[in-house]
């Protein structure tokens, strides 16, 4: 079975290339190989930040999830490869190893110093690759479409977002506590309305009504603090 190799770093051009790669793989009935290369060059934080800005990388997004989701939607079989080393060399090597018939990757229009400093990975890949290379350079309009698409796919649907919270252990525990509290409050209201005589019975120098009212306030505070401590610990364990 033939393969199409997608090299992605999660940058906007790479995300645009992802769309093309999935389409190519589907048309060729090929497997999509999603390649991410982790560079081993020591860099300062400042350099990393300027890279990230220059490449318009959506925060915290490495492109793999997006490619997997897109491939899944189009029912294209996909595998993920993560390599360490110099980017260009690893892309060429991966293409040879997987026997890819096409390499798809993105490139951005870098300006000024960034162009000098970063160079162009795509340019080097094109000159060294054993097979055809599809270099994707999104226009401003295409970039917007890709951004919207990423948001749609990466951001969970409201139902999923709610389910992610409601299926946690702490939420379930909260439901039990909530039910117990409501029952307690209902009993309090029942006595306060229809069985009022009980509220006048003296206890601890006060009457039942005052004691139970004060108790509700104290229990509410304790319940909130205790539940939060439990939930924080549960979240840490996740």
């Amino acid at each position: 079975m033939s393969t199409v190799l997608l090299a992605t770093d999660g940058s906007l051009p790479a995300l645009a290339a992802t769309v093309k790669a999935v389409a190519e793989a589907k048309q060729r009935s090929a497997t999509l190989v999603i390649l991410k290369v982790v560079e081993q060059i020591p860099r300062t934080t400042l350099e990393r930040a300027s890279d990230s800005r220059a490449l318009q990388r959506p925060e915290g997004e490495d492109g793999i999830e997006y490619a997997k989701e897109l491939a899944a939607i189009d029912k294209v079989p996909a595998t993920v490869l993560v390599k360490e080393g110099p980017v260009v060399g690893e892309i060429i090597r991966a293409a040879e190893e997987t026997g890819a018939e096409l390499i798809v990757m993105g490139t951005s229009s870098l300006k000024g110093l960034n162009r000098l400093y970063l160079g162009s990975v795509a340019k080097s890949v094109v000159s060294q690759a054993p097979v055809s290379v599809l270099v994707v350079k999104p226009t401003a309009g295409e970039a917007e479409t890709v951004k919207a698409r990423v948001r749609e796919i990466i951001e969970p649907s409201p139902a999923k977002a709610v389910a992610a919270i409601t299926r946690t252990r702490q939420f379930r525990v909260g439901l039990y506590l909530f039910t117990a509290y409501i029952i307690g409050y209902a009993i309090f209201v029942l006595f306060g309305s229809y069985i009022r005589d009980v509220f006048q019975i003296l206890v601890f120098g006060l009457n039942v009504g005052l004691v139970s009212g004060l108790l509700i306030i104290v229990v509410t505070i304790a319940l909130a603090v205790g539940f939060n401590a439990y939930a924080v610990r549960a979240e840490r364990e996740e």
Partner: protein
Amino acid sequence: MAELQPLSFGIFVAITMITIGISIYAARRVRTAGHYYVAGGGVRWVVNGFAIAGDYLSAASFLGITGLVAFSGYDGFIYAIGFLAGWIVALFLVAEPLRAIGKYTFADALTSKFRSKKIRLVAAISTLVVSVFYLIPQMVGSGAIVGPLIGLDYEIGVVVIGALVITIVATAGMVSTTWVQFIKGFLLLIAAIALTIGVLVVAGLGPIEFLAQFLNGTVDIPTVSGGVKTVPGDVFMSPGMKYTNPLDFVSLAMGLILGTAALPHILIRYFTVPKPSDARKSTVIAIVVMGVFYLLTLYLGLGANYFGTLNPSDANLAAPMLAMYIGGEAFYAIISSIAFATILGTVAGLIMASAGAIAHDIYTEVLGKKTDEKRALRISKLTAVSVGVIAIALGILAKGQNVAFLVGLAFAIAASANLPALLCTLFWKRTTEWGIVMGIVVGLVSSVALIAISPAMMSTGALFSLYNPGIVSIPLGFAVTIGVSLLTGNRAKAEASETAAG
């Protein structure tokens, strides 16, 4: 009214200047609608916790409950309990899931599932109705406070508050609102603690002793006619002083616990923190702050009664008058200024919620006016100014109304119209678009209609005998939301299978 008080006036001016300073400083950072409506979603949870308390502890809590406890004893205390208990619904059911689906407004959360303009429209209208019912008592409280405090007329007090709030919301929206609410929540807690310590020290009694001595002997309550009503202490400290009809007590208690988590101006505070877990943590901070505060309102109200610092024609003044008795004019000025800041913070939150409903929900989304970020921001600010002006007018018209009582009605409306829609959207998969729309409409209309024919609005021959509509309209809201969802859900399913068969 009273002549100009130099000391009070000085403190009042200082608070005013600080508020305006914060607003103008914060305004520099507000460039997008996201900054304006939810402070960019970057508020820290501790700050948000105090701000929630500052948003929620309105004039009704501080002035209203103190007055109600002073005049009605235990029946005032039930407000304090109910106001706090409602937060359990927010903590365990609403806070985290809501943060996960919401954006700017209450309607955003409800439409996250269906992207329906119908839902958005009715949710926006419901937001406006609840906020206006909540707004009126705040404005009434502001007039009542500013009058005696600096020697201005009621109407001028309302206008001053209104103008200040307009400044806050029109400059930096949620950013300045958050800071004003944060500072106010903190100050209010300090004020309540100081006043309570004052009450116990001056009375020379321990906290339990102080409560206990009310049960032995009698309690004097001044009446509007100038006389004094004397009741046995154990009656005063038990339910039934105000709510002689037990069903009224139930209805109020129900409205209070279910209304909190459905108040739009409270819910939008959850959109200002970064993560769902932050929403929970800020709720916990708020519960601790408010729990302590509500515990103390019992002492403030009883203290006002104990020392006889009561004005039968305006129960809302019990707390400042108590401060005057305990600590003299300086303390009175400080407490009144904090009460003033209290109103400021809450009104700012309410106007933010209303402006969001009009500018974001109705104008941008329902009417589909596509605008750029800059224009959207300007429209939001213009809307906030208009809502502020309307609030001033309503405040002047509603002079003399009881503050905590009116807020109780706002809770009942929120619980009837908003809570069924919110809970069903979050937790019930079979909820349909029409279920939500009809639930909000019926909950809203029924609660408002029942208030209109209640003894509060019709002095004689009221058609509905309860003061608070909650016990009828809340179950009705839930029943309609669920019932209509089931009906329309089945039809949708039937249509789908027909299409599949055909």
